[in-house]
């Protein structure tokens, strides 16, 4: 999968590396900004910190 991605990218190795780093940064941004907050609302609904029923 990742090997195929590497082959598809154009240019010499350092251009490919640059493209990969930019893609990685974009993916991380999407995860941190939208995906993780959304997942957080689904999985963590226990009342940690409070006493009660």
């Amino acid at each position: 999968m990742y090997a195929a991605l590497w082959r598809v990218l154009p240019g010499p190795w350092w251009v490919r590396l640059l493209i990969v780093l930019v893609l990685l940064a974009a993916v991380l941004f999407v995860l941190f900004e939208w995906v993780f907050p959304w997942v957080d609302g689904i999985v963590d609904q226990n009342q940690q910190g409070t006493v009660g029923t």
């Binding site: 609904q45 006493v51 009660g52």
Partner: protein, 238 residues
């Protein structure tokens, strides 16, 4: 191919845990601190201006050190609506600049909020009152508000600011209890039939850190009240 997918999934889970406990908590810590600073400053300005909402005509540094049951300490009478701000807490032991807004209610709408972090148990007393002013916060995640609660030492000051002024509590002791031990919220904690005469602050959080199997309870007792910021936090307020 399948191996790469599994590795990717594993990395995503680790990233999420990192985001939740480090990144998001760090962001919320800053936002909650900033919101508390703003509210504390606003209340201070209001009480300083002669036309402000203060009930008495600001008599300088009037400090009330008698805190017996009959002492004349201002206490808000009306119970606020859910999510309404009722106090700003300052705990130097948690960090010299540490402050949090206390809002009414202990739901996740308050505990996870970027403008709160500490929730007031709606059934309990208001700040400074005879009885038990009880609050809750997360220990890890969502601002990691009470992360350093185990660092409290006997006599450590906990400052609670309201519209009326500053209540100085002194830390007294811990208790480790089960999550369903609601008796810690009683006017005299865990003494259901006792008649309250002390002015107590109770803080609850999770124990151990990153887990939710127990609750760590901290008790503090009111030491004094003053209309102006106590010297120890004067540079932090406003």
């Amino acid at each position: 191919m399948a191996g790469e997918l599994l590795l990717t999934a594993g990395v995503l889970v680790l990233l999420f845990i990192g985001w939740q406990n480090v990144f998001n908590s760090w962001v919320l810590n800053g936002q909650q601190n900033g919101a508390a600073a703003q509210l504390g400053r606003q209340w201070l300005d209001e009480s300083a201006s002669p036309s402000g909402g203060g009930s008495s005509s600001g008599g300088g540094s009037a400090t009330q050190t008698s805190v017996g049951p009959a002492a004349n300490i201002p206490v808000e009478k009306s119970a606020p609506a859910n999510q309404q701000p009722i106090a700003v807490m300052y705990v130097p032991r948690f960090g010299t600049d540490w402050k949090r807004t206390v809002r009414e209610g202990t739901g996740l709408d308050v505990l996870n909020s970027s403008t709160a972090g500490v929730g007031h148990y709606a059934s309990t007393a208001m700040p400074g009152a005879v009885g038990n002013f009880a609050v809750a916060a997360h220990d890890t995640g969502y601002g990691s508000t009470f992360l350093h609660m185990q660092n409290l030492r006997l006599g450590d000051k906990i400052y609670v600011q309201t519209k009326d002024g500053f209540y100085t509590y002194a830390f007294r002791n811990y208790q480790y209890v089960q999550p369903n031990e609601v008796a810690v919220l009683d006017p005299v904690p865990r003494e259901q039939s006792a008649q309250a005469s002390d002015r107590i602050l109770t803080m609850t959080t999770c124990n151990p850190p990153y887990h939710t199997v127990e609750r760590l309870i901290s008790y503090a007792v009111l030491e004094s009240f003053s209309k102006t910021p106590p010297a120890a936090i004067a540079s932090v307020v406003g």
